[in-house]
Symmetry: C2
């Protein structure tokens, strides 16, 4: 019997998680990974900290190198290789070596498409100018870093108001640049309800970053091919460096061209075992859909946590084991200077989209005992089902120690707990860490009252 | 109809939580609180930080003063009043005013006994000497503080290896004293399994505190009534100040003398609504029992979180509402300099006592992404039922950000989750806070393997 050949397209979180799980179960399988960039298994989420100077080398963002995968796991990682096409009937792939331009055909018994996502680039004049970056691969992060070193920009504009934008604004603050964050939306952080988003906006402003909302960009002014300013509907903002953080789209072209069905936002359609509709072909990570735990409906959520989990499940099932990813809540967090933000589950807008009657309330409390040094404000917003009292979502903004409390709420949602049960949780307390009632419980007590309970 | 008279004996966490809940439901009731000490509603847990100089005044530990309770809640708090006896048939109390020595009789329709706990003092020679303290009331904390100011001690000995002992050792370290921690047990922190306790012991040693285990104290050497040294079975340790942190016993003498049944360790027996067996009499807080959520058996766990929750439930039911305290897990946490520790649920020894077959495993990971500044070691130990795979307990020791992760585990236990479900949790991730797999999930994956799952 010939050795089984498992081919993985894409060598970051999902792809390499899967590779490890396959190897664990199939010591004899051939495992080949094609990765378009020059790196595999790196932390894309770490780029803002590398750019901001908190991480001293881009190499530290690489969890494991191709050589390490080869020597420790007998996993054949080929970086700088672009998979051009998949021929499903022939079980073959067309691959180009980006170093020398040569192409070859490879075959697979099992295939995982883990091609990730691509940043959205706005179709406006000047978007291709030098000094304008969309964070995607580690290479882009290195380009931003080198631009900062070589060009010594003084004015940075971050376009977008999401997680990465907050983090890039922080990075530029750390580099002592003059920073403006521009968002076309009426609030930053679209995943948050307006009251919490407004607090996040205040926090951004308090760190010295200029915040412009309700301003869509219409183009860029350039000078000899270099960006000079960002132009919005209302004004022109001088800029020596621009980062576009407008979200991402699944990089599912390869899968689509092969005829694989697509799901929400063009993500590859898969079941909860990460199997596509074609026997022997899986997809996982930022290119693939996942199920939302609360609605049971497929969604596209590009997050490192999800990519790792989906890759693990794909690898287990590809290796002959069984696992499912029950679903995700879109739990996410970010930090801007001394402010932390986090969310999980459904916000009010999302609940309304799903026609789920909800009650929400927001409280302000402290991250530590009020008398303990560095006790800072924390705002917690909870959303619960009006009918069942079950927790459906949580949003947090506050000082050090605020954001990771989202995990209590994510766990409670996954445990199908009611707000009353959150009041009863036996959470940890000591003055340096909390108050006898943790802020999430104070929020739960408030919401319980709003729901008409004790 | 006469106004209902609710009398509360003890004005700290449980008593004052109850008072607030009664007032909320019974605007017209008379609410009287008798408190032996000079303060009500103070944070006993905050004393080590006040003593260590992190909190600038003992007044900051007082959440609300008697005057504030009177003016804002119409709650009549009488500090420096000792309740000497309860006459159940007559529904009366004998009360002494400690300021002037006068006694009077008061009556109640509803009574809450929230008398707290008393520190255990060893019966050895010299235990009453000046310079030896057992932390109980805020007054004792103030005495320790004043002793530090007035006597300028240089050598401190902390007797005991529990939460408060770690915190007092930290306080003395902050005050630049030479600190020795002596414990008769073979490990510090009896609530932890030996491997984690050993890591805690190492952490204590690394901060410069001397740690002596397996050493019972046999007495104290004194000089003109002042402590000079702590004597153990093996040696004599010079000491200018000694703090005894040997645990507490329920202060249930008043309840026992009145004929109320007692439960574990002499705590007042109550149901999950905090009702004693006598109609109209409740008990809550460090003097009363609670139910352990995992065993369903009454236990005595003296913690501020439990006292607050039990007091709330007592107050709701005293006020005519309904609430139950489903049970507690003994979730607790502490900090010693830069090390954080936390636990919840059952450890291996406790599981064995209850004849529950379990599997445990301990992992080491990082508190943040490995490349992020101040990423520190975190050790997580999980214990699960061998039969059902349900999580039963967790223990954590590590650097900043380690301890509060215990809340994920406490919530998962309360949600009756299996270890496999913890692997699937959609927890928050960003490099400053975590890794894509949170350390508790890395521990869950390890334990899942040990349990024979994927």
């Amino acid at each position: 019997m010939e050795k089984e050949r498992c081919v993985i397209v894409g060598g970051d979180a999902a792809g390499m998680s899967a590779a490890g799980q396959i190897r664990k179960r199939r010591p004899d399988a051939d495992i080949v990974v094609y990765e378009r960039s020059g790196y595999c298994s790196y932390s894309a989420c770490g780029m803002p900290y590398y750019i901001g100077g908190l991480v001293d080398s881009e190499r530290r963002l690489v969890v494991r190198s191709p050589d390490e995968f080869r020597s420790r796991g007998n996993i054949d990682v080929r970086v700088r290789h672009d998979v051009l096409a998949i021929d499903i009937p022939k079980r073959s792939l067309r691959v180009r070596n980006l170093e020398n331009g040569r192409e070859h055909t490879d075959f697979f018994d099992k295939l995982l498409i883990a091609t990730g996502a691509r940043p959205i680039v706005p179709d406006v004049p000047g978007a291709g100018a030098e000094g304008i970056f969309s964070l995607g691969t580690l290479e882009t992060g290195i380009s931003v870093y080198q631009h900062l070193l070589g060009q010594e920009p003084r004015k940075a504009v971050v376009v977008g108001g999401g997680y990465i934008d907050l983090e890039m604004a922080e990075a530029f603050c750390l580099k002592k640049l003059d920073v403006t964050l521009v968002d076309r939306a009426p609030q930053v952080m679209g995943g948050f309800d307006p009251d919490i988003a407004s607090l996040i906006g205040e926090a951004i402003t308090q760190t010295g970053t200029k915040l412009l909302l309700n301003e869509a960009i219409t183009g860029f002014e350039t000078d000899s091919g270099r960006v000079r300013a960002v132009v919005t509907e209302n004004r022109t903002i001088e800029a020596d460096i621009v980062v576009l953080g407008l979200g991402v789209r699944p990089d599912s072209g390869l899968a689509a061209s092969a005829g694989l069905p697509l799901g929400p936002k063009g993500s590859v359609a898969v079941d909860r075992r990460m199997r596509t509709s074609v026997e022997g072909i899986w997809s996982a990570g930022d290119c693939a859909q996942v199920v939302h735990l609360l609605t049971g409906v497929p969604v596209h959520i590009a997050l490192g946590t999800v990519a790792n989990k989906a890759g693990r499940v794909a690898g287990i099932t590809m290796g002959g084991g069984d696992a499912v990813l029950p679903g995700v809540l879109g739990t996410a967090m970010s930090k801007h200077c001394r402010y932390e933000v986090a969310r999980t589950g459904l916000n009010e807008r999302e609940a309304a989209e799903w026609n789920i009657p909800v009650v929400s309330s927001t409280i302000r409390s402290k991250t530590r005992a009020g008398y303990y040094p560095q006790a800072e404000d924390i705002h917690v917003r909870l959303t619960a089902s009006k009918e069942s009292g079950r927790l459906l979502g949580g949003q947090i903004v506050g000082g050090q120690g605020a954001a990771k409390r989202i995990d209590i709420l994510a766990t409670a949602i996954q445990g199908e707990m009611t707000v009353a049960q959150i009041v009863d949780l036996d959470l940890g307390y000591a003055p340096p860490f909390s108050m006898p009632w943790d802020p999430v419980q104070i929020a739960a007590r408030e919401l319980l009252n709003a729901l008409g309970g004790e």
